[in-house]
């Protein structure tokens, strides 16, 4: 007993403060790739190195235009694109507050003049790059296999904004793993450790979807978890906030294109906030939760 007390006193208060928009990652953290537009020539070499659909180019010969897309939703933060860039235009500076209400906002596009790009010796034509699915723009909820299990007023509910203010300072979250690699689970579990201590914000992880206001979904939604996910969603009390946590949950991540995955949470249930990261660090998850609650303003 005394030893427990002694240890507790020795350790003191371990909890770190958390300020959205002002929190910085600890030293060394890579975070998200950032492309410096002034240095980038649009050669497209990085697209080849990208293991997912996060980096891609789209050439328009008639308009003499090339667009380079960087999608944080698909990015797994592997940093393979950094060393391959001949112009040092890609850098990793520890950016992690990336959560957003729409997928559109997660995709950056960089326009180039195609004939200018071709002057670069590192130029890579679109034809020589692996075929990827281009960002489709405003794609949000597409009704999946089990859509009939969801009632229409649930899908179309605009009640959410109002209810967000009613929640005040308390939020009950049900976590659902829809096929993740357990990296996201590890970080979500870390939210409850003394350093992040989510309960101080009134955030509580509950055991049943019936007690929950929010679903925190990870994983690319495997074929064999889809029904369980939809049933869990159906059991949550309205207005049913959904947070898609991690690259897999946003668009399938590295598992995109497999026969066994659906490829993103919004292909099965509607999503309110998309939270990039592979896995997102605990501060990034907190930021995403606050964004879903409307307690922090979204970035432009």
């Amino acid at each position: 007993m005394f030893r427990i007390l002694k240890k507790n006193i020795q350790v003191g208060n371990a909890t770190a403060s958390f300020e959205p928009h002002h929190s910085s990652a600890s030293q060394g953290f890579l975070g998200a790739p950032e492309i410096e537009a002034a240095k980038c020539t649009g050669c497209g070499l990085c697209v080849k190195s990208c293991p997912t659909d996060a980096l891609q180019v789209c050439d328009d010969q008639t308009k003499d235009e090339r667009k380079l897309f960087l999608s944080y939703g698909d990015c797994i933060f592997c940093s393979l694109c950094e060393p391959i860039c001949p112009h040092d235009a890609v850098s990793f500076l520890g950016k992690f507050e990336l959560a957003s209400e729409s997928k559109e906002k997660l995709t950056l596009s960089f326009p180039f003049c195609l004939s200018e790009c071709k002057k670069d010796p590192a130029f890579t034509s679109q034809a020589s790059l692996p075929v990827k699915t281009l960002p489709t723009g405003s794609q949000s909820f597409s009704q999946g296999n089990f859509a009939p299990l969801l009632s229409m007023d649930e899908i179309g509910s605009r009640l959410k904004d109002k209810v967000k203010t009613l929640f005040g300072r308390s939020l009950h979250i049900r976590e659902v793993d829809a096929g993740s690699c357990n990296g996201c689970e590890l970080e979500i579990t870390n939210l409850s450790n003394p350093i992040y201590d989510v309960e101080r914000f009134g955030i509580h992880f509950v055991a049943s979807p019936r007690h929950a206001d929010m679903l925190l979904v990870t994983g690319p939604v495997t074929r064999q978890m889809e029904l369980a996910l939809v049933k869990t969603y159906a059991a949550v009390a309205a207005p049913k906030l959904v947070l898609a946590c991690g690259s897999c949950a946003i668009g399938g991540g590295v598992f995109n294109g497999s026969y066994a995955v659906v490829g993103g949470v919004d292909r099965s249930i509607p999503v309110d906030v998309y939270l990039p990261g592979c896995p997102p660090r605990p501060e990034a998850i907190l930021y995403g939760i606050f964004l879903a609650l409307g307690t922090v303003a979204s970035k432009k």
Binding site: V11, D177, S192, T222, V254, F255
Partner: protein, 525 residues
């Protein structure tokens, strides 16, 4: 090893169709289908080899048939023997090994589901990997199955084993669990509080990872390998990288070997610490859980400082280790490890005197040594049941041969033993990191890689925090990856839990489960 082939030839004559040293440590023996069972039993029972795992591959576009690979280890001489069986033509059956070596049970069912080959005489031929809504006659691992095919859902039924009798009831749990854990289904049959039977039904997180790896280039394959089981990222990536390196027959620089040890041990420490903390949390001892969670967070921040990733991702590459460690970081690492060790030590000293914790973990969830051996259990679970096995020592890889460490073994096989093994291993890992960091040779940490050789195969293996982890990679005619087999330690260990819980009470299940800490994603892939 030539001797083994001779002995087999003596016994099985011309049904041994050829042998070939595929890599330095792998001897492949082609053998006729009808004698594979007696041959496998002969290797295990008479030559005292260990059966590791078995898997299929579709080589119809190369040699016109399916192949089955039976992998054995011969640890006296640090060699592996792979028996290769051809399944050809109309007859897509193969004799089942499961009645003799129960550990082949899940492996053969997996081959049935994914390749459509039929294990004749299998005691339990139900679906395993693919659930009941998968249509008959579609086999995703065959080469003619298109990767991104949209497969329709059909009506089907999975029948659980039933225990019947007065007062027996069933408790279904999952796939969505009460805590923040991965999905899987557990079906308990119990009378009162005692568990009479547990049947596990997994593969909810099956993502077709092995198939996704086919045709990928090596850097992308390793990205995928890191995401087989997130908390074992380094172990899986190392095993895959080693398979690629062995396949090409090249050595990575000695410094990279030591760096890999540092990364592997850092991963082991945070995993084991989390497991100890998890068990303590599950018996509702808040102080211990909070302290260990805090120490774990310190480790994750250390990981981040050294590699840029809290899960140590992106470091293991084909050809070495991506970032070298600076002298400054070395100093910082040793200093931090020292602090964390003191902190861990203090917490453990307190924990081991708390009777409410000891009451719950002693004699709980006992796994007998015979069960571990029959089902091919591995890792800390096996070592807690008196099975003295550790690939770091028995089949050394990376720089383990040059480092000194102990392999803790306990005999009781209960939750306490498993926790003790993990705690002791944490101390060994502290030592290993210190030794590896201080004894690291100078030089480069990564070398330019070569293209993969065509039509070759190789095995990579790692003693991950959960146990033995194997990656087997084969290339096609163009030197692209044609088959990637992942044998994760969880796949070997999950069936053990059905025995660990017997005669325990239902409320102890979470503690038993946590003490084993198996990965669902690693198992389901």
């Amino acid at each position: 090893m030539k001797r083994v082939v001779e002995v087999l030839k003596e016994k099985f004559g011309n049904r041994i169709q050829g042998s070939h040293q595929e890599t330095v440590r792998e001897l492949q023996i082609k053998i006729a289908k009808e004698v594979v069972i007696p041959a496998a039993r002969f290797l295990v029972e008479t030559l005292e080899m260990r059966f590791l795992f078995l898997f299929g591959s579709d080589a119809r576009n190369i040699s016109g048939c399916f192949h089955l690979h039976y992998v054995f280890s011969y640890h006296h001489v640090d060699q592996f023997i792979i028996l290769i069986v051809e399944v050809r033509g109309e007859d897509l059956t193969f004799p089942s090994l499961a009645p003799y070596l129960p550990q082949a049970n899940w492996q053969e069912r997996e081959i049935q589901d994914l390749f459509g080959l039929i294990a004749k005489g299998h005691p339990d031929p139900r679906r395993l990997v693919l659930h009941e809504d998968w249509p008959e006659g579609l086999y995703p691992f065959r080469k003619d199955f298109i990767q991104n095919k949209k497969v329709p859902r059909v009506n089907g039924e999975y029948v659980f084993d039933r225990v019947e009798g007065d007062g027996v009831f069933e408790i279904p749990v999952g796939p969505v669990h009460a805590g923040i854990i991965e999905p899987g289904h557990f079906r308990f049959s119990s009378a009162g509080e005692s568990i009479l039977k547990l049947e596990i039904r997994h593969f909810y997180t099956h993502k077709g990872t092995e198939k996704l790896g086919e045709g990928k280039d090596s850097s992308h394959l390793l990205c995928l390998a890191e995401r087989i089981s997130g908390d074992n990222s380094v172990a899986h990536a190392t095993a895959a990288a080693q398979a690629l390196e062995t396949l090409c027959g090249f050595q990575i620089p000695p410094r990279a070997q030591f760096l890999r040890v540092v990364l592997l041990e850092l991963e082991r420490i945070y995993n084991h610490l989390a497991d100890v903390g998890g068990v303590v949390l599950d018996v509702a001892f808040g102080f211990g859980a909070a302290q260990l969670a805090r120490v774990k967070e310190q480790l994750m921040r250390l990981n981040e400082r050294l590699t840029g990733s809290r899960l140590l991702r992106g470091m293991i590459v084909f050809g070495g280790v991506r970032n070298d460690i600076s002298d400054l970081d070395k100093k910082y690492l040793i200093q931090e490890i020292g602090k964390i060790k003191v902190d861990f030590d203090q917490t453990i000293q307190i924990l081991w005197n708390v009777s409410s914790l000891m009451d719950r973990i002693q004699k709980t969830g006992i796994i007998k040594k015979e069960i571990v051996e029959a089902l091919g259990g591995t890792g800390p679970i096996a070592r807690a049941s008196g099975v003295d096995r550790d690939f770091r020592r028995d089949h050394p890889y990376a720089a383990y041969q040059e480092l000194l460490f102990m392999v803790p073994v306990f005999r009781e096989g209960d939750v306490e033993s498993r926790i003790k093994v993990k705690m002791q291993e944490v101390y060994e890992s502290f030592k290993l990191i210190y030794e590896a960091v201080t004894g690291m040779p100078e030089g480069i940490s990564i070398v330019e890689t070569v293209p993969l050789k065509p039509l070759r195969s190789a095995l990579g293996y790692v003693e991950s925090p959960r146990g033995e982890c194997f990656h087997w990679i084969a290339t096609d005619r163009d030197g692209r990856i044609a088959r990637w087999k992942i044998q994760s330690p969880s796949f070997a260990n999950w069936p053990l839990i059905e025995y660990a819980v017997l005669e325990n009470i239902v409320p102890d299940f979470p503690v038993i489960n946590k003490s084993m800490n198996l990965s669902y994603s690693g198992n389901d892939r």
